[in-house]
Amino acid sequence: MMQIVTANRLRDGLVVYLSADGGWSDRIGDAVEAADEVAARELMETANRSEIECRIVGPYLVKVENAADGPAPVEHREAVRVSGPTVQTSLNRGAHGGHQRRHV
């Protein structure tokens, strides 16, 4: 099972994903995937360093499968975290509606 690392950006709480260059992107498509437990541990080490550097807070691993448009979380809760609130209000555009690629 592939895994990625997610966290919240410290200063503004934005949901972000660890990307290949060790930075954090708000697009799950940029997330670097770990194919096994060894790789996953290494990703978490990088993430924990980021936390100590006060860039992000609360990193953890998320199981994903590869969908047409990039990694998709297997668990429902993590899927909601990607999409943003599922409820319909005009104000409630999802957390990732129309965002540009941004690095922390």
């Binding site: 709480g13 949901v15 006060c54």
Partner: protein, 551 residues
């Protein structure tokens, strides 16, 4: 309402400054997240599923129009243009940035508001009857004592690191509109046989994993003894509450494990040392506080029945709204107007910044600038002249705040659930929305009558499902959302914890299941019975049979 003096203002100002320093020390790494977390929680700042969440205190649910406008401004400037009113009479903003929160708190302090102790293992917002001061059945205004408790509990040096959170509720009428029996401490003001006014003190209620009703540990407490007594309760809890297991750390567990009698003995023993001392509440101080909550200058109106009755007879929509949303006021010619934040298909308890501003304007025009927040996630304008109700209703219609459903099946209480909350196991809002749409027809709602549906998205029960007539608990079963139904919960003076009716339903099946329950009631009810009455008379078996088939 209570007006800050220079000391109250200094307390919130120094807190803003202190928090600004703490945020700076967090951002530069001097404070780790583990050290910062309790500090930010004590200022109401959570880290949720998508973002931070800020819970702003609305002390005992009372807001001025100025304060409501400030909340609207914060929603617009620092958030995504809306806020969410909660089951503890507070407001939550779902998208603040950590780096902005010191400024948000500073703006709140400008209008005598704060987010102090809205989270954390400390004493939380004291909630009260939303009709305090105006209810027709009121004996004494619970806001007086709610404010006194609020102050005593704010930055209390001994009780800021309790085993777990701590919630007080206060009422002053025979009808319990604040769910006293599911609070850590519930205080009911009443007049005893000797004609004295005092408190029934209830301790150890709560919901969550282990719902329990509070026990009366002192049937009558004189008002002067209020603070010394609650200090004794808190000290016993702080010393002896469990700290080994987060899920067994509330005071209800302590009361349950040592027994109400032993718990009472410990409290009374501690109290013997405290009573009559520094925490004695002088009558003169109670009088001083009471002045803040004096009724506004009501006009001497001859209950203008004719105009109000005429408009109701004339306009069927107005009459429906009046029937559901208008409550009796103690002053002749006046009424209490409820504003439903449960539009059909909407998110329960949410309000846009525009709606907040509009409510503020309406409060100024019709309600002496005062608004209330209820623990059922609606708003109240407490000082309406009956003669103004029709104009108010028309103004509410224009901003989609005139849903005539207070107390009915579509007046659903729901926590934010998995759409927002990091603790949730299932979504609650979509269930509320679909239920609301299924029962949209107003005449059907009126026929069903009073019915409290409460939905929680996890076992923490922030939606208060344990005390819903129909309670719905969202769980996860093998990766799918799954909804358990409880029946017979009550949050009033006949408080009861609902019982699970049977196996959980799928997300697809839950709305049908609720409809089946309601149809069963309609089939079985006798003349004049409300849902809860029928359920109590017949028991759960007929409902179980209809849901799951005969055994």
């Amino acid at each position: 309402m209570y007006i800050y003096d220079e000391m109250d203002q200094a307390i919130v100002d120094q807190r803003v400054k202190q928090f600004r320093g703490q945020v700076a020390r967090r951002l530069n790494g001097e404070l780790t997240e583990e050290e910062f977390r309790p500090l930010r929680l004590m200022n109401g700042l959570y880290l949720q599923l998508h973002a931070y969440m800020l819970r702003v205190a609305v002390p005992y649910g009372v807001l001025s129009s100025t304060q409501m406008r400030k909340l609207a401004h914060i929603a617009r400037r620092y958030d995504k243009g809306y806020g969410h009113f909660t089951t503890r009479q507070n407001i939550q903003f779902n998208w603040p940035k950590l780096e902005d929160t010191p400024d948000i708190l500073a703006e709140l302090s400008d209008v005598q508001m704060h987010a102090i102790q809205t989270s954390g293992n400390c004493i939380r917002n004291v909630t009260a009857d939303q009709y305090a001061g105006v209810a027709a059945d009121e004996i004494e205004d619970p806001r007086i004592y709610s404010e006194i408790i609020r102050q005593w509990s704010t930055l209390h040096p001994e009780f800021s690191f309790l085993p777990r959170k701590f919630k007080f509720a206060v009422t002053g009428a025979p009808h319990d509109r604040a769910a006293l029996r599911v609070h850590d401490v519930g205080l009911r003001l009443y007049e005893n046989e000797a004609g004295e006014i005092g408190f029934e003190v209830m301790v150890g209620g709560g919901q969550g994993r282990t719902p329990m009703l509070a026990k009366t540990i002192r049937p009558f407490l004189a008002r002067r003894d209020l603070l010394s007594y609650v200090e004794a309760i808190m000290r016993v809890y702080n010393r002896f509450g469990r700290r080994d297991n987060k899920y067994k750390a509330r005071i209800k567990i302590l009361v349950h494990e040592i027994g109400a009698e032993e718990f009472t003995r410990l409290v009374e023993e501690e109290w013997e040392h405290l009573r009559g001392g520094e925490l004695d509440l002088p009558l003169a101080e109670v009088q001083r506080m009471r002045r803040f909550f004096r009724p506004p200058g009501y006009e001497d109106l001859d209950d203008p029945v004719t105009w109000y009755e005429l408009k109701k007879a004339e306009n069927v929509n107005f009459s429906r709204w009046a029937a559901a949303n208008v409550a009796a006021h103690k002053q002749p010619g006046y009424a209490i107007a409820n504003i439903s934040l449960k539009p059909i298909g909407g998110v329960p308890g949410d309000a846009t910044a525009e709606q907040m501003d509009a409510v503020a304007d309406l409060a100024d025009r019709y309600s002496v600038g005062e608004i209330r927040v209820t623990h059922e996630q609606n708003l109240v304008l407490p000082h309406l002249k009956k003669a103004d109700l029709f104009d108010l209703w028309r103004a509410l219609e224009a901003i989609d705040l005139a849903t005539p459903n207070v107390g009915f099946v579509t007046d659903i209480i729901a926590c934010p659930g998995l759409d927002y909350c990091a603790l949730a196991t299932a979504r609650s809002i979509p269930v509320a929305q679909r239920l609301s749409e299924r029962f949209a027809d107003i005449e059907r709602q009126r026929d069903i009558g009073p019915l409290r549906i409460k939905i929680s998205g996890c076992i923490n029960a922030c939606g208060h499902h344990h005390v819903g007539h129909i309670g719905i608990l969202g769980l996860e079963k093998r990766g799918e959302e799954s909804y358990q139904v409880t029946l017979g919960g009550r949050a009033d003076e006949n408080a009861a914890i609902g019982k699970i009716v049977g196996p959980a339903f799928t997300a697809d099946g839950i709305v049908d299941a609720v409809e089946t329950v309601i149809d069963t009631y309609l089939d079985l009810r006798e003349e004049g019975e409300e849902f809860i009455d029928t359920l109590e008379r017949t028991g759960h078996d007929p409902f179980k049979e209809r849901l799951y088939g005969a055994r």
